[in-house]
Each structure stands twice: as structure tokens, then as C-alpha cells.
């Protein structure tokens, strides 16, 4: 169940008869908007004015609302984009590191994502219908990524494999949302503890039980 990238780098392939779909300038605007919004949200929070994002992206206000009918649509799009990046990171880490290390690094990557998005929890509980589909999207995108990493690590005996990916994802999310006010690295250590737990239960042999 994969889905082609909706807004990736513009590839000038002339294939297809009716290319009436996406105009080049529109694609440029959307990309610039997403980049600008990500940067502005990171510095000024998700409550930053739309005008500030439009200015940083070098487009007019009207252009923002052409592509994102509501403010919340932009916010949701950025969240989705970051989740995509997080999911993609799984493949990259799996290619660059041995399975156990890849799993550990990805868990921290995911934890960082949750911890830095302070406005995420508020958005999900805001009642805005725009965000209703986000939880399902997150799980749909993150579950396979983590599942693959766990299986990979379990195959070489670097971690136990009998763990539900969703359980892990929600557990980490809860850990990172709780005590972020007191100690900045509290979440990091708790996640590391979780990963160590995965390693502890590893089975060296093929036979799981």
C-alpha cells in the first residue's frame, strides 16, 4: 500500500497526454510554502501568522489560501510531511547501519519528532475536523517503518520481535509528551531504556519459542 509522492521535486517528464494537472508555478508555490511553514512553525510555533509564512515563502496571501483553504490545512500538511520524512528515515538508517543500531537510532529520531512538535498534541485535541485524519495517517505511515526495523533487528538477534509496533509508537509518544518541561533529556533516556528493553529480549537463535 504505497502512495506516490504528491509533491516531490519537479521532474520535467513530458510523459502523459493530459498534463493539465499540476502547473509548474503552483508546484513551486506549494513547495516554498511547505518549507517556509516548517521553518516558521519551528521557530515561532504553530500559531504563527499566515502572513509571516507567505512572506518567508515569497508568495502572496491569496496563494496560500489557494492551496490550503484553511490555516489548519497548512499545519496538517506540514505534520504529514514531517511524518513522511520520519518514515523515510527508517529506510535510510536501515541502509547505513546494522539492524540493531538502525532501530535504536530511528526510535530517537521519532522521539525527537514528537518532542519538538509541541503544538501537535494541542492540534489533535483542538476539535478541528482538519486534524481528524492525522492519527490514522501517522499510524499508517509509521507502523510499517517501525515494523520493518524491528523485524530486521530480530532477524539478526539484535532485538526481540514479539512487540507490537503501535504499542511502541504510542508509548514513545506518551513518554515524549509528558515530562518535557522539567528535563530536556528525560524523554531521550526513557526511550533509550525502552530500546534496551528490546535488546534484552533478543533471541540469538532462529527459534522464537
Amino acid at each position: 500500500m504505497n502512495e506516490e509522492s504528491k509533491h516531490q521535486e519537479s521532474s520535467p517528464e513530458p510523459a502523459g497526454r493530459t498534463d493539465r494537472r499540476v502547473r509548474a508555478d503552483a508546484q513551486r508555490s506549494v513547495d516554498a510554502l511547505l518549507d517556509a511553514a516548517k521553518a516558521v512553525f519551528a521557530t515561532s510555533g504553530v500559531d504563527a501568522p499566515v502572513r509571516e509564512i507567505a512572506e518567508k515563502a515569497g508568495v502572496g496571501i491569496g496563494t496560500v489560501y489557494r492551496h490550503f483553504p484553511q490555516r489548519s490545512d497548512l499545519v496538517a500538511a506540514v505534520f504529514r510531511q514531517e511524518v513522511d520524512a520520519c518514515a523515510q528515515a527508517a529506510a535510510v538508517l536501515a541502509a547505513e547501519h546494522e539492524p540493531g543500531e538502525a532501530l535504536a537510532r530511528w526510535m530517537q529520531r521519532y522521539a525527537d519528532f514528537i518532542a519538538t512538535k509541541r503544538g501537535l498534541a494541542s492540534a489533535l485535541h483542538s476539535g478541528d475536523p482538519t486534524f481528524d485524519s492525522l492519527p490514522a495517517y501517522f499510524q499508517q505511515r509509521l507502523h510499517p517503518a517501525l515494523r520493518t526495523l524491528i523485524d530486521g533487528a530480530a532477524a539478526v538477534g539484535a532485538a526481540r520481535g514479539d512487540i507490537d509496533a503501535d504499542d511502541l509508537l504510542s508509548a514513545v509518544a506518551r513518554l515524549c509528551m509528558s515530562a518535557n518541561d522539567d528535563k530536556p533529556d528525560h524523554a531521550r533516556r526513557m526511550v533509550a531504556l525502552l530500546v534496551d528493553g528490546l535488546r534484552y529480549g533478543a533471541t540469538s537463535s532462529k527459534d522464537g519459542k
Copy 2:
């Protein structure tokens, strides 16, 4: 321009009542505002316009801001008021029911409070300094109420007494904030389960296990 006249000089009133403190019309305005805000927040959410509250209370906008310098001060005041009511309910329930029943009913009362205040979690995580003191106030007000109920129930063998009140309060809060979208009575049943757990561990006699 800061508040300086809150506290008068050192004890200028020996026995007589100094009426220079609160003017009658001001008290009326504050009461009407609090009532109106509670009603409006319940129906339209905590993001309801200040003007709507002012109109419902029958006062002008200026009057709102005289007593609540910021919107968030009004929100916090309503939260505090509801927590007070919840804490007071403990004494009422203790007087009207036997200890075990009082404890059980109060837990549901508290659960209802948390579950219906959808904007509470968002407010606490909003970063607005106005809400910084709320968690401490909640605990300070609720802890003694629950502690008394637990002790009362434990004294007649209706519940175990070796439970930390804060643990219970935070556990119930978490339960009521999680799965409120799926099933409306999920929280209620989970809280009932918790209460049953308290009853299960009750000691009818003095034997310490």
C-alpha cells in the same frame, strides 16, 4: 500600573467591617461573569469570544477586562471555580452517603469534570503563563478532598487506605483524556474499575495482610 492596593496596611480593622474592599456592583459583575463564562464555555468551548460572555452576563466589554485583565484569566478563574465545586462535592457526598459509596461517587464526579473540560489539556500545554499555577492549585484543592474520602472509606473497611491520592487523581485524569473520542462511557467504566480495585484491597479487620 500594577496592583498595589490589594492588601491594605497592617490590620486596620480590629473588629468592624471595612467595606472599602469590594464594591457591591463589582461583586455582582464578577459573579455574573463567572456564571456566564461557565455556561458559554460548556456550550461553545473555551475559545468562545469574550463579547459573547459579556453579553450573556449583561455587562460591557470594559467590565470584563477590569476584573480579568486577560481572556485567559477568565478561563483560569472558571477552571478554579469548577475545581472548588468538585472539592466541595466531596464533603457533601460524604455527608449523604456511606464512606464507600461517597468515594465511588466522587471519583465519577471528578472523572466527569475532567472529561467535560476538553479545553483543559490544551490550556495547560498552551504555554500561557496564566495557566502555570493551575496544576498546583488543582492538586492543593483536590488532594485533601480525596484523601479524606479514602481515609473515611478505609476506616469502615470499604476500601484500602494505602493509596496515594495524587496517583489516583493523575491516573483518572489520564484515563479520561485518552479515549474520549471513541466511546463516551469508556472513561466511566475504567474509573469504575479503579474504584473496584480500591474496594478489593479493603481490610475488614485490623490484620495487616
